[in-house]
Amino acid sequence: MLKINNLHASVEDKAILKGINLHVKPGEVHAIMGPNGSGKSTLASVVAGKEEYEVDEGEILLNGENIDELGPEERAHKGVFLSFQYPVEIPGVSVTNFMKTAINETRKAKGLEDMPANEMLKMIREKSEMLEIDRKFLSRSLNEGFSGGEKKRNEIFQMAMLEPKLAILDETDSGLDIDALRIVANGVNKLKSKDNAVIVITHYQRLLDYIVPDYVHVLHDGKIVKSGSKDLAHELEAKGYDWIKEEVNA
């Protein structure tokens, strides 16, 4: 599904990713953990195609295709989805209209007709119920005045609507209370299948109790310095990151 080879990326000439290698197969859940500033969000943004990041070396292959030259929308059309750490407020565009536009533009890119209105409404109803989202919420301006938890839930709602092949959840757990965390995690679990993959970026092991990873990677100073099973997450929770830094430096 996703193959990242020796990826180096920088922003304004400052190197942030310094040789990432990652291989994600369909049906897998990967967790990427690491201290602040290690490059976790940059990795997510680079895969999603944020243009202010420069890829200096290496490649990102999605189902064998190098996506480096593709714009964010083209990557989305190929099934990449990024759940933002800080979703952007867009006053004047309702959640529903935004979703309609996103879905129909994606269909257009695939040469499909617009989704019939009744089908769209049905889908919106099902997915919002799954994430326990109030219907009234859907007519509000996108993310405007939403609480932190509402924003994150809205991200997963968008993911549910767009049914991506590769979902990257960038600190989706931050700002969520335990109930919201459970709802969001259940949503993600319901969307999981043998054909899609999820990358969970998080500081804490908490979310990984609900979305159980097949692999855990530790990112430090722009490199994956350690990979392991879900037990690695528990170890990090108990011992912090310092021992990894020491191991790397040794």
Binding site: G49, G71, F84, V88, P91, A109, L162
Partner: protein, 437 residues
Amino acid sequence: MSLKEKLVSSFMAFENMVDIDSPVHDIRTEAIKSFETEGFPTKRQEAWKYTSLNLVLKHDYSVFPKHENALEFKDVKKYFIHEIDCYKIIFIDGKYSSHLSQTTHDGIDVCLMSAALSKPKYRLVIENYFNKIASKDGLSSLNTAFSAEGAYIHIPKNKLVEKPIQIIHFSTGNEAALMLQPRNLVVVGENSHVQIIERHQSLTDNPVLTNSVTEIFTNKRAIVDYYKIQNDRESASLIDNTFVNQKQESLAKVHTFSFGGKLIRNNLNFYQNGERIDSTMKGITIIGNKQHVDHNTLVHHIEPNCESHQDYKGIFDDSSTGVFNGKVVVEKEAQKTNAFQANNNILISDKASINTKPQLEIFADDVKCSHGCTIGQLDESAMFYLRSRGIPEKEARALLMFAFSNNVLDSVKIPEIKNRITKIIANKLGVNIGFDL
């Protein structure tokens, strides 16, 4: 011969066409003198610092069209808000078109200025209101001097006029270059409510210069909703001089949608003569190429406990230029005034520019006045967010621009106008968003 000289010398020819014994003609004679002294404004005047009329004044305009021209409704239907039943006052090359119009005298007068200026039954209204608030500057004086035709709307008290009134000025291009001086008078009686839509539409690329004056009087508790749709060809220029005189507790709203034309100057003036008055000015400007749109507003707060709201949004592409000059005067007696002004702009191209200038003159000490102007580019993080959801760059840009100007449409009370404006915007931005905001 300069355009000024040509206009002054054609005044005598004009006198042969109108009743020179009417009291209005004394006003016209005064006005032509005043135009002769003042002339056209130049960039040396503070209020015209960023707008030069030189390019639009250089054409050899016909001042009086030679022919009467006709148009078929089907050919110009798209310029009408035809989805709803409306009164219509339609002009072709400055001449009234009875064929396209639908006027009324049934309890209200929705008819022609030429009739109002000549028939005795309108004399009292004309005496009381005509040229009472129009300014004496060169352009308004020029219009007053040649005032003969336009819309005359008189709503007596306690009338809720349900059908909106459309005023459309078509120019057919039968003249190589045409100058028009439409003159409108709107008098709304106590407790009455009227909705007016005004549009100027050129049908060819021959240059047209319209110098229009509209006087609006809202009596006690009257409500006026005025919509100006400016979406003309790039050969047409418009100088719109609108003066609104409000009495107590009246509500006047003017929406100006400026999407097309070579040069547009909106001189929009509100005078509040009474307490608890509300004046609202809103605008969306979306232009490109070398187009120029200038909003010059004035609110004169004269008495206590009144409000004014100004909200203008501008999106400028290519080498287009915009001007916003919003003046708010609060007199010493006008305590408890609440005046709000906002002008937000997005420059899409490096060559586009906007000059925005709030001007507050406050002589009262217990008032709330706020103003703010912003000039920026589209938010890149919002662009990435939309694109990461599969919305292509062009559509994402359009969506953000829709969102940016959207709140100005909130106060548009006629859904068909809102739809029309939304469609014009989508068209301007070259996208099909797939839903109406």
